[in-house]
Protein backbone atom coordinates (compact mmCIF):
# COMPACT_ATOMS: atom_id res chain seq x y z
CA UNK A 1 0.00 0.00 0.00
CA UNK A 2 1.40 3.35 -0.88
CA UNK A 3 1.99 6.08 1.64
CA UNK A 4 -0.66 8.19 -0.01
CA UNK A 5 -3.36 5.64 0.56
CA UNK A 6 -2.17 5.16 4.13
CA UNK A 7 -2.70 8.82 4.81
CA UNK A 8 -6.12 8.72 3.27
CA UNK A 9 -7.04 5.79 5.51
CA UNK A 10 -5.80 7.64 8.56
CA UNK A 11 -7.96 10.55 7.64
CA UNK A 12 -11.14 8.51 7.53
CA UNK A 13 -10.39 6.60 10.71
CA UNK A 14 -9.71 9.80 12.53
CA UNK A 15 -12.82 11.49 11.33
CA UNK A 16 -14.99 8.59 12.41
CA UNK A 17 -13.40 8.36 15.80
CA UNK A 18 -13.24 12.01 16.64
CA UNK A 19 -15.98 13.49 14.55
CA UNK A 20 -14.40 16.91 14.88
CA UNK A 21 -13.60 19.07 11.86
CA UNK A 22 -10.60 20.53 13.61
CA UNK A 23 -8.93 17.19 14.09
CA UNK A 24 -9.69 16.30 10.50
CA UNK A 25 -7.72 19.28 9.44
CA UNK A 26 -4.88 18.44 11.82
CA UNK A 27 -4.66 14.88 10.57
CA UNK A 28 -4.78 16.05 7.00
CA UNK A 29 -1.98 18.53 7.60
CA UNK A 30 0.15 15.93 9.36
CA UNK A 31 -0.46 13.49 6.56
CA UNK A 32 0.56 15.92 3.88
CA UNK A 33 3.50 17.34 5.72
CA UNK A 34 5.03 14.03 6.70
CA UNK A 35 4.73 12.34 3.36
CA UNK A 36 6.10 14.62 0.65
CA UNK A 37 7.01 11.94 -1.85
CA UNK A 38 8.57 13.56 -4.90
CA UNK A 39 6.27 12.56 -7.69
CA UNK A 40 6.84 14.02 -11.06
CA UNK A 41 5.28 11.63 -13.51
CA UNK A 42 5.05 13.22 -16.90
CA UNK A 43 7.85 15.69 -16.44
CA UNK A 44 10.46 15.38 -19.13
CA UNK A 45 13.70 16.85 -20.36
CA UNK A 46 15.61 16.75 -23.61
CA UNK A 47 19.28 17.15 -24.37
CA UNK A 48 21.00 17.53 -27.70
CA UNK A 49 23.87 15.14 -28.20
CA UNK A 50 26.19 15.05 -31.15
CA UNK A 51 28.04 12.47 -33.13
CA UNK A 52 31.28 13.60 -34.65
CA UNK A 53 33.59 12.16 -37.25
CA UNK A 54 36.30 13.47 -39.48
CA UNK A 55 36.07 12.12 -42.98
CA UNK A 56 39.20 12.25 -45.07
CA UNK A 57 39.69 11.60 -48.74
CA UNK A 58 41.91 8.70 -49.75
CA UNK A 59 45.54 9.30 -50.55
CA UNK A 60 46.35 9.17 -54.23
CA UNK A 61 49.95 8.47 -55.17
CA UNK A 62 51.20 9.12 -58.69
CA UNK A 63 54.60 7.98 -59.91
CA UNK A 64 56.34 10.84 -61.67
CA UNK A 65 59.78 9.31 -62.17
CA UNK A 66 61.37 5.89 -61.68
CA UNK A 67 64.47 5.16 -59.65
CA UNK A 68 67.34 4.83 -62.14
CA UNK A 69 70.91 3.77 -61.47
CA UNK A 70 72.03 4.65 -64.97
CA UNK A 71 74.55 2.66 -66.94
CA UNK A 72 77.61 1.35 -65.12
CA UNK A 73 80.75 -0.62 -65.92
CA UNK A 74 81.19 -3.66 -63.70
CA UNK A 75 84.78 -4.31 -62.77
CA UNK A 76 86.74 -7.22 -61.41
CA UNK A 77 85.71 -6.45 -57.85
CA UNK A 78 82.21 -5.97 -56.47
CA UNK A 79 80.84 -2.47 -56.35
CA UNK A 80 77.94 -0.31 -55.28
CA UNK A 81 75.93 2.42 -56.94
CA UNK A 82 73.99 4.55 -54.52
CA UNK A 83 71.36 7.04 -55.57
CA UNK A 84 70.17 8.90 -52.52
CA UNK A 85 66.66 10.24 -52.10
CA UNK A 86 68.13 13.71 -52.43
CA UNK A 87 69.56 12.74 -55.88
CA UNK A 88 73.19 12.38 -54.92
CA UNK A 89 75.00 9.57 -56.83
CA UNK A 90 77.90 7.64 -55.29
CA UNK A 91 79.97 4.88 -56.96
CA UNK A 92 81.92 2.52 -54.74
CA UNK A 93 84.16 -0.49 -55.39
CA UNK A 94 84.65 -1.88 -58.86
CA UNK A 95 81.95 0.08 -60.65
CA UNK A 96 81.94 3.36 -62.45
CA UNK A 97 79.59 5.39 -64.55
CA UNK A 98 79.39 4.18 -68.14
CA UNK A 99 77.93 7.34 -69.59
CA UNK A 100 79.36 10.72 -70.11
CA UNK A 101 76.94 13.11 -68.46
CA UNK A 102 74.21 14.11 -70.84
CA UNK A 103 74.74 11.35 -73.35
CA UNK A 104 72.58 8.75 -71.67
CA UNK A 105 70.15 8.42 -68.84
CA UNK A 106 71.53 9.92 -65.67
CA UNK A 107 70.93 8.23 -62.32
CA UNK A 108 68.10 9.73 -60.30
CA UNK A 109 65.79 8.82 -57.43
CA UNK A 110 62.18 7.88 -57.93
CA UNK A 111 59.71 10.69 -57.44
CA UNK A 112 56.08 10.48 -56.42
CA UNK A 113 53.25 12.98 -56.10
CA UNK A 114 50.92 12.36 -53.18
CA UNK A 115 47.51 13.99 -52.84
CA UNK A 116 45.04 13.78 -49.97
CA UNK A 117 43.46 15.72 -47.15
CA UNK A 118 45.04 19.19 -46.80
CA UNK A 119 47.12 19.58 -43.69
CA UNK A 120 47.22 15.89 -42.89
CA UNK A 121 50.46 14.11 -42.21
CA UNK A 122 51.36 10.92 -44.01
CA UNK A 123 54.00 8.27 -43.93
CA UNK A 124 55.80 6.37 -46.69
CA UNK A 125 57.01 2.83 -46.25
CA UNK A 126 59.29 0.90 -48.57
CA UNK A 127 60.91 -2.51 -48.10
CA UNK A 128 64.49 -2.78 -46.94
CA UNK A 129 65.56 -4.34 -50.23
CA UNK A 130 64.23 -5.71 -53.50
CA UNK A 131 65.63 -7.99 -56.20
CA UNK A 132 66.22 -6.68 -59.71
CA UNK A 133 65.85 -9.19 -62.51
CA UNK A 134 67.90 -8.76 -65.67
CA UNK A 135 68.10 -9.83 -69.27
CA UNK A 136 71.51 -10.36 -70.81
CA UNK A 137 72.50 -7.97 -73.52
CA UNK A 138 71.26 -9.13 -76.90
CA UNK A 139 68.38 -10.97 -75.27
CA UNK A 140 70.38 -14.16 -74.84
CA UNK A 141 68.75 -15.09 -71.55
CA UNK A 142 68.18 -14.06 -68.02
CA UNK A 143 70.95 -12.54 -65.96
CA UNK A 144 71.61 -13.23 -62.32
CA UNK A 145 69.45 -11.10 -60.07
CA UNK A 146 70.91 -8.04 -58.38
CA UNK A 147 69.98 -6.67 -54.99
CA UNK A 148 68.80 -3.15 -54.46
CA UNK A 149 69.25 -2.47 -50.75
CA UNK A 150 69.12 0.51 -48.45
CA UNK A 151 65.95 1.90 -49.92
CA UNK A 152 65.36 5.35 -48.46
CA UNK A 153 62.57 7.92 -48.60
CA UNK A 154 62.60 11.66 -48.30
CA UNK A 155 59.63 14.00 -48.46
CA UNK A 156 59.64 17.52 -49.81
CA UNK A 157 57.59 18.88 -46.90
CA UNK A 158 59.73 17.46 -44.10
CA UNK A 159 63.05 16.26 -45.49
CA UNK A 160 65.29 14.12 -43.35
CA UNK A 161 62.49 12.48 -41.42
CA UNK A 162 62.77 9.13 -43.13
CA UNK A 163 59.42 9.04 -44.87
CA UNK A 164 57.15 11.30 -42.85
CA UNK A 165 55.52 14.20 -44.62
CA UNK A 166 52.55 16.51 -44.50
CA UNK A 167 50.20 17.66 -47.20
CA UNK A 168 50.08 21.34 -47.98
CA UNK A 169 47.01 23.55 -48.15
CA UNK A 170 46.14 22.13 -51.52
CA UNK A 171 46.53 18.60 -50.19
CA UNK A 172 49.74 17.82 -52.08
CA UNK A 173 53.30 16.83 -51.40
CA UNK A 174 56.07 14.92 -53.10
CA UNK A 175 58.53 12.31 -51.95
CA UNK A 176 61.55 10.61 -53.46
CA UNK A 177 62.95 7.11 -53.11
CA UNK A 178 66.61 6.15 -53.43
CA UNK A 179 68.63 3.01 -52.89
CA UNK A 180 71.89 1.14 -53.43
CA UNK A 181 72.46 -1.31 -56.28
CA UNK A 182 74.87 -4.09 -55.36
CA UNK A 183 76.91 -5.33 -58.35
CA UNK A 184 79.02 -8.48 -58.13
CA UNK A 185 82.43 -8.72 -59.74
CA UNK A 186 82.67 -9.44 -63.48
CA UNK A 187 78.97 -9.05 -64.03
CA UNK A 188 78.01 -9.62 -67.69
CA UNK A 189 76.32 -6.84 -69.59
CA UNK A 190 72.57 -6.86 -68.92
CA UNK A 191 69.54 -4.69 -68.40
CA UNK A 192 67.92 -4.81 -64.98
CA UNK A 193 64.54 -3.85 -63.67
CA UNK A 194 62.97 -4.01 -60.21
CA UNK A 195 59.63 -3.16 -58.75
CA UNK A 196 59.62 -1.24 -55.47
CA UNK A 197 56.36 -1.38 -53.58
CA UNK A 198 55.58 1.95 -51.91
CA UNK A 199 52.95 2.17 -49.21
CA UNK A 200 51.61 5.60 -48.27
CA UNK A 201 49.30 6.00 -45.30
CA UNK A 202 47.94 8.87 -43.24
CA UNK A 203 50.09 9.36 -40.21
Amino acid sequence: MSSHSVHRLLFWQSSEMMGAPVLRIIVLVVAIASSAPAFAAGSSAEEQGRAQAEIVRPLVVTREQDLAFGAVFAGNVPGLVTVTASARVVYQGGVEAACVQGLCSAPHPASFLVRGEPGRSYRVEVPDSVQATGVLAGGSGPAAALTVAGLMVDTISTPGTGGSGSLDDSGQDRFTVGGTLQIPAQQPAANYRASVPVIVTYG
Binding site: H4, A33, S35, A38, E47, A51, Q52, E54, I55
Partner: protein
Protein backbone atom coordinates in the same frame (compact mmCIF):
# COMPACT_ATOMS: atom_id res chain seq x y z
CA UNK B 1 -11.51 28.17 11.07
CA UNK B 2 -10.19 28.55 7.55
CA UNK B 3 -6.93 27.27 6.32
CA UNK B 4 -5.51 29.33 3.55
CA UNK B 5 -2.32 28.39 1.86
CA UNK B 6 -0.16 30.70 -0.11
CA UNK B 7 2.53 29.58 -2.52
CA UNK B 8 1.77 25.97 -1.78
CA UNK B 9 1.95 23.33 -4.44
CA UNK B 10 0.63 19.86 -3.95
CA UNK B 11 1.44 17.57 -6.82
CA UNK B 12 -0.04 14.20 -7.51
CA UNK B 13 0.96 12.01 -4.64
CA UNK B 14 1.31 14.78 -2.10
CA UNK B 15 4.53 16.66 -2.78
CA UNK B 16 4.62 19.86 -0.76
CA UNK B 17 6.43 23.09 -1.32
CA UNK B 18 6.82 25.13 1.80
CA UNK B 19 8.88 28.10 0.80
CA UNK B 20 5.98 30.18 2.06
CA UNK B 21 4.11 28.89 5.05
CA UNK B 22 0.35 28.68 4.97
CA UNK B 23 -1.45 31.45 6.76
CA UNK B 24 -3.90 30.58 9.51
CA UNK B 25 -6.96 32.55 10.33
CA UNK B 26 -8.51 32.14 13.69
CA UNK B 27 -12.22 32.59 14.14
CA UNK B 28 -13.98 33.36 17.36
CA UNK B 29 -15.52 29.88 17.47
CA UNK B 30 -12.21 28.03 17.82
CA UNK B 31 -10.03 27.95 20.95
CA UNK B 32 -6.60 29.53 20.73
CA UNK B 33 -4.73 26.29 21.29
CA UNK B 34 -6.12 24.76 18.14
CA UNK B 35 -4.52 27.42 16.01
CA UNK B 36 -1.33 27.19 18.04
CA UNK B 37 -1.17 23.43 17.57
CA UNK B 38 -1.77 23.77 13.88
CA UNK B 39 0.89 26.41 13.57
CA UNK B 40 3.47 24.32 15.42
CA UNK B 41 2.71 21.29 13.31
CA UNK B 42 3.02 23.21 10.09
CA UNK B 43 6.33 24.69 11.19
CA UNK B 44 7.62 21.25 12.12
CA UNK B 45 6.45 19.90 8.82
CA UNK B 46 8.32 22.63 7.07
CA UNK B 47 11.59 21.81 8.82
CA UNK B 48 13.82 19.54 6.77
CA UNK B 49 12.19 20.63 3.57
CA UNK B 50 14.01 23.88 3.20
CA UNK B 51 12.72 25.80 0.28
CA UNK B 52 11.43 22.88 -1.73
CA UNK B 53 10.55 23.10 -5.39
CA UNK B 54 8.80 21.01 -7.96
CA UNK B 55 10.52 17.74 -8.84
CA UNK B 56 12.24 17.73 -12.18
CA UNK B 57 14.24 15.50 -14.45
CA UNK B 58 17.21 16.67 -16.47
CA UNK B 59 19.39 15.12 -19.13
CA UNK B 60 22.97 16.24 -19.59
CA UNK B 61 25.61 15.27 -22.13
CA UNK B 62 28.90 14.04 -20.74
CA UNK B 63 30.58 12.84 -23.92
CA UNK B 64 29.75 13.07 -27.62
CA UNK B 65 29.52 10.01 -29.79
CA UNK B 66 32.99 9.82 -31.32
CA UNK B 67 33.61 7.99 -34.57
CA UNK B 68 37.18 9.19 -34.99
CA UNK B 69 38.85 9.91 -38.30
CA UNK B 70 37.79 7.78 -41.21
CA UNK B 71 39.15 7.37 -44.67
CA UNK B 72 36.20 6.81 -46.96
CA UNK B 73 36.99 5.91 -50.56
CA UNK B 74 33.35 6.08 -51.64
CA UNK B 75 30.90 4.92 -49.00
CA UNK B 76 30.81 2.82 -45.90
CA UNK B 77 29.88 2.82 -42.27
CA UNK B 78 31.31 2.64 -38.81
CA UNK B 79 29.34 1.30 -35.89
CA UNK B 80 30.32 2.24 -32.37
CA UNK B 81 28.30 0.23 -29.90
CA UNK B 82 27.23 1.51 -26.52
CA UNK B 83 29.88 -0.78 -25.07
CA UNK B 84 32.59 0.73 -27.27
CA UNK B 85 32.96 -2.04 -29.85
CA UNK B 86 33.85 -0.80 -33.32
CA UNK B 87 32.71 -2.35 -36.58
CA UNK B 88 33.85 -0.92 -39.91
CA UNK B 89 32.55 -1.55 -43.37
CA UNK B 90 34.08 0.19 -46.34
CA UNK B 91 35.90 2.74 -44.21
CA UNK B 92 39.40 2.79 -42.79
CA UNK B 93 40.49 4.27 -39.50
CA UNK B 94 43.11 7.00 -39.64
CA UNK B 95 45.26 8.09 -36.73
CA UNK B 96 44.57 7.61 -33.06
CA UNK B 97 41.64 9.92 -32.49
CA UNK B 98 39.46 8.80 -29.59
CA UNK B 99 36.52 6.63 -30.51
CA UNK B 100 33.68 5.83 -28.16
CA UNK B 101 30.00 6.00 -27.36
CA UNK B 102 28.19 9.09 -26.19
CA UNK B 103 27.46 9.40 -22.51
CA UNK B 104 24.44 11.02 -20.91
CA UNK B 105 23.32 11.46 -17.34
CA UNK B 106 19.69 11.55 -16.32
CA UNK B 107 19.20 13.31 -12.99
CA UNK B 108 16.05 13.35 -10.93
CA UNK B 109 15.69 16.21 -8.48
CA UNK B 110 12.95 15.47 -6.00
CA UNK B 111 12.77 19.13 -5.11
CA UNK B 112 13.18 18.76 -1.36
CA UNK B 113 15.58 17.39 1.20
CA UNK B 114 13.53 14.40 2.18
CA UNK B 115 15.45 11.16 2.75
CA UNK B 116 12.58 8.92 1.85
CA UNK B 117 13.63 6.16 -0.51
CA UNK B 118 12.25 6.65 -3.99
CA UNK B 119 12.21 4.55 -7.09
CA UNK B 120 12.06 6.55 -10.28
CA UNK B 121 11.09 4.99 -13.56
CA UNK B 122 11.68 6.96 -16.72
CA UNK B 123 11.44 6.41 -20.42
CA UNK B 124 14.31 7.60 -22.58
CA UNK B 125 13.90 8.31 -26.24
CA UNK B 126 16.85 8.64 -28.59
CA UNK B 127 16.26 10.21 -31.96
CA UNK B 128 18.41 11.42 -34.79
CA UNK B 129 18.16 9.72 -38.14
CA UNK B 130 18.37 12.72 -40.42
CA UNK B 131 20.97 13.00 -43.15
CA UNK B 132 23.71 15.60 -42.92
CA UNK B 133 25.99 16.70 -45.71
CA UNK B 134 29.09 18.84 -45.72
CA UNK B 135 30.53 19.49 -49.14
CA UNK B 136 30.87 16.21 -50.93
CA UNK B 137 30.39 14.15 -47.78
CA UNK B 138 27.05 12.92 -46.55
CA UNK B 139 26.45 11.19 -43.24
CA UNK B 140 23.52 9.58 -41.54
CA UNK B 141 23.18 8.31 -38.02
CA UNK B 142 21.12 5.21 -37.37
CA UNK B 143 20.65 2.30 -34.99
CA UNK B 144 20.93 4.39 -31.86
CA UNK B 145 21.19 2.10 -28.87
CA UNK B 146 22.08 2.29 -25.22
CA UNK B 147 23.79 0.13 -22.65
CA UNK B 148 20.71 0.40 -20.48
CA UNK B 149 18.03 -1.89 -21.74
CA UNK B 150 16.07 -1.98 -18.52
CA UNK B 151 13.70 -4.61 -17.34
CA UNK B 152 11.58 -4.29 -20.44
CA UNK B 153 14.48 -4.46 -22.88
CA UNK B 154 15.11 -2.11 -25.71
CA UNK B 155 11.97 -0.82 -27.30
CA UNK B 156 11.52 0.11 -30.92
CA UNK B 157 12.51 3.52 -32.18
CA UNK B 158 15.40 4.09 -29.81
CA UNK B 159 13.29 4.01 -26.65
CA UNK B 160 14.16 2.31 -23.42
CA UNK B 161 13.27 2.42 -19.78
CA UNK B 162 15.60 3.26 -16.97
CA UNK B 163 15.13 2.94 -13.26
CA UNK B 164 16.74 4.78 -10.39
CA UNK B 165 16.34 2.62 -7.33
CA UNK B 166 16.49 3.57 -3.68
CA UNK B 167 17.04 7.26 -4.25
CA UNK B 168 17.62 8.84 -0.83
CA UNK B 169 19.27 12.06 -1.90
CA UNK B 170 17.70 15.18 -3.23
CA UNK B 171 19.24 14.44 -6.62
CA UNK B 172 19.81 10.97 -7.95
CA UNK B 173 21.22 10.19 -11.35
CA UNK B 174 22.01 7.38 -13.70
CA UNK B 175 24.53 7.50 -16.51
CA UNK B 176 24.15 5.61 -19.74
CA UNK B 177 26.04 5.34 -22.99
CA UNK B 178 24.71 5.58 -26.51
CA UNK B 179 26.14 3.92 -29.58
CA UNK B 180 25.10 4.22 -33.20
CA UNK B 181 26.02 3.56 -36.79
CA UNK B 182 27.36 6.34 -38.96
CA UNK B 183 26.90 5.74 -42.66
CA UNK B 184 29.03 7.94 -44.86
CA UNK B 185 29.09 8.48 -48.59
CA UNK B 186 31.77 10.65 -50.12
CA UNK B 187 31.73 12.10 -53.60
CA UNK B 188 34.53 14.63 -53.13
CA UNK B 189 36.90 15.96 -50.53
CA UNK B 190 36.72 15.43 -46.81
CA UNK B 191 34.70 16.97 -44.00
CA UNK B 192 34.22 17.29 -40.30
CA UNK B 193 30.83 15.76 -39.70
CA UNK B 194 28.84 16.76 -36.66
CA UNK B 195 25.51 15.00 -36.60
CA UNK B 196 23.07 16.02 -33.88
CA UNK B 197 20.77 13.66 -32.09
CA UNK B 198 18.62 14.05 -29.03
CA UNK B 199 18.08 12.15 -25.83
CA UNK B 200 14.89 12.90 -23.94
CA UNK B 201 13.70 11.44 -20.68
CA UNK B 202 10.17 11.37 -19.30
CA UNK B 203 9.29 10.37 -15.78
CA UNK B 204 6.79 7.54 -15.85
CA UNK B 205 6.47 6.85 -12.15
CA UNK B 206 7.92 7.76 -8.80
CA UNK B 207 7.14 5.64 -5.80
Amino acid sequence: MRLKSSGQHIGTGGDVSLCQMPKLYRTSRQPWWVCLTLSVMLVLAGMGQACAKAPEITVTTNLPLRFGTLLVPASGSRTVSSGGQITDSGVFAVGNDPVGPAQFTVTYDRGNESRRSLTIKAQVFLSGNQRFSVGGVEGQLSQLESDIAGAFGFLTGGQFYLTIDDCRERRCSVTFTVGARLTVSRSAGGANLVVPFSASATVLAVF
